[in-house]
Amino acid sequence: MATAQKKLKKELTINLGPQHPSTHGVLRLVLDLDGETVVKCTPHVGYLHRGTEKLGENSTYLSAMPLMDRLDYVSSMTNDVAYCLAVERLFGIMAPERAQYIRTIVSEMTRISSHILWLGTHALDIGAMTVFLYSFREREWILDLFEMLCGARLTVSYPRIGGVRNDVSQEFIDSLYKFTAEFPARILEYETLIDQNRIWLQRTKGIGVISAEEAINWGLSGPTLRGSGVTYDIRKHFPYDAYDKVDFDVPVGQHGDVYDRYRCRMEEMRQSIRIIRQCLEKLPRGPVMAPDAPKLTLPAKEKVLADMESMIHHFVLITKGPMTGQSGEVYSAIEAPKGELGIYFVSDGTGKPYRMRLRSPSFVHVSALPRLSEGALVADVIANIGSVDVVLGECDR
């Protein structure tokens, strides 16, 4: 009898992941358990490390773009926007107004698609399967719109340094308008499914609580930080593209628990619809590529075939990269769906960045998982992983 009791008290170490559906990718957590309580949680990352920073330092500013698509692969559009903005700030150019509006539209579409993917998988982890099926329907709609816009659905590479690749068609604008008219009703639909659901409330309310000061200290960002009541949104603090020309609110939570982070993301989707609506209504006429940066942006194909000067620009840009840079450094961050996606460039004046650093929100959020999970139950670990919204492609880079 005595030995049996001794055995029951023994701590158990279990390995969660890297191949586990509720760890959202190849995240591995080693959990030391006392009964069902987590005593220690040790995350192991790096299974998806592809050396994006090293590859970026060895390719020109123009050719590193496809690498960005593969960071946070469920919101590739915002990664590209972050990259283009960082290069533009480094070289001191601005995208034309129409391109800025288009970028704002596609960024917000990406935010919606990322949040509904998050909602579906998070609810699936906690045990509400229906939401997953509904949310994928709307995600498909957005991906179809992306396909209409640029021909690609996931790895889009649509924004360009100094603008966007091609102008939007009237057909796209009409379909997107229809989407913005119908989507708010769909958000209501999701909320009817889970907002009053007793199981959902018990699994999320008061779980994974982090105070505002502590969340800032841990470097959390995006909805994960705003769930704790901090109004830090880069779209408001450092407005980029057309965010200073549109009107929107920044939803914040109060308690900093899983439920508040869920509410923040739901409200953010409504705000995204508002932003898209305003952008579509205000969309100015004009070019979509910066005309004043011929040594930085690729010339039009028909010009390359007919004009000597353009052909030389094209050749130099492809082989050596933009050669107009000065030595300097810039840290540029945007509000990606997951949080603050920062890019830090050190330039030595050549066509390749001397140092390219990617500050990904998921990396920081995974590092805070032990803080959220230790002392909680194993089931809460799953809720926490879902609520900080991580994508491992971005975490491991």
């Binding site: 490390h49 800032i216 470097g219 840290y331 830090y344 001397y354 650093r357 805070a368």
Partner: protein, 178 residues
Amino acid sequence: MEPKEIAERIKESFPADVREIAFFAGQTSVTVGKDSIKDILRFLHDTPELYFDYLADLCGVDYLGKKEPRFEVVYNLYSIRHRHFIRIRAEVPAEDCSIESAVDIWAGANWHERECFDLFGITFKGHPDMRRILMPEDWEGHPLRKDYPLKSDLGSMEWRGYTELLKTVEKNSQYEVR
């Protein structure tokens, strides 16, 4: 507060440590020596008018053959309360490749410092858990150093498709027009 004023404040308080103040693309960076980096960061975090509560980013840079000292650890700091931004660059020489850890000022520095150790080989003194993070535990070398090759010579372990391609290129080179 304007970034320029913040830089002046740092220079006032730590005159012996500030090496350079640079302005580029609307951002200010202060280059400092590594000896009192912890005091400088603590000063930036604790002074009420500065109050840099948010460590946006921490990373290493390798300036091999470009300048001395070889390494830099870069802190991008932001104050959510006051809405101002500054960059601190701490110089780290290759002979003594270590710097004080900032984990007890910002908890979020933990993994950034581990990553910096993993990819650059800069050790952080006082860090609670100095292990590799992205690369496997038994990995040799620090991949983001400039003298670390982008691609290694794998010899017989090279992917077959690639060696076949190389053979084709060699075979075709005899037809090249010179």
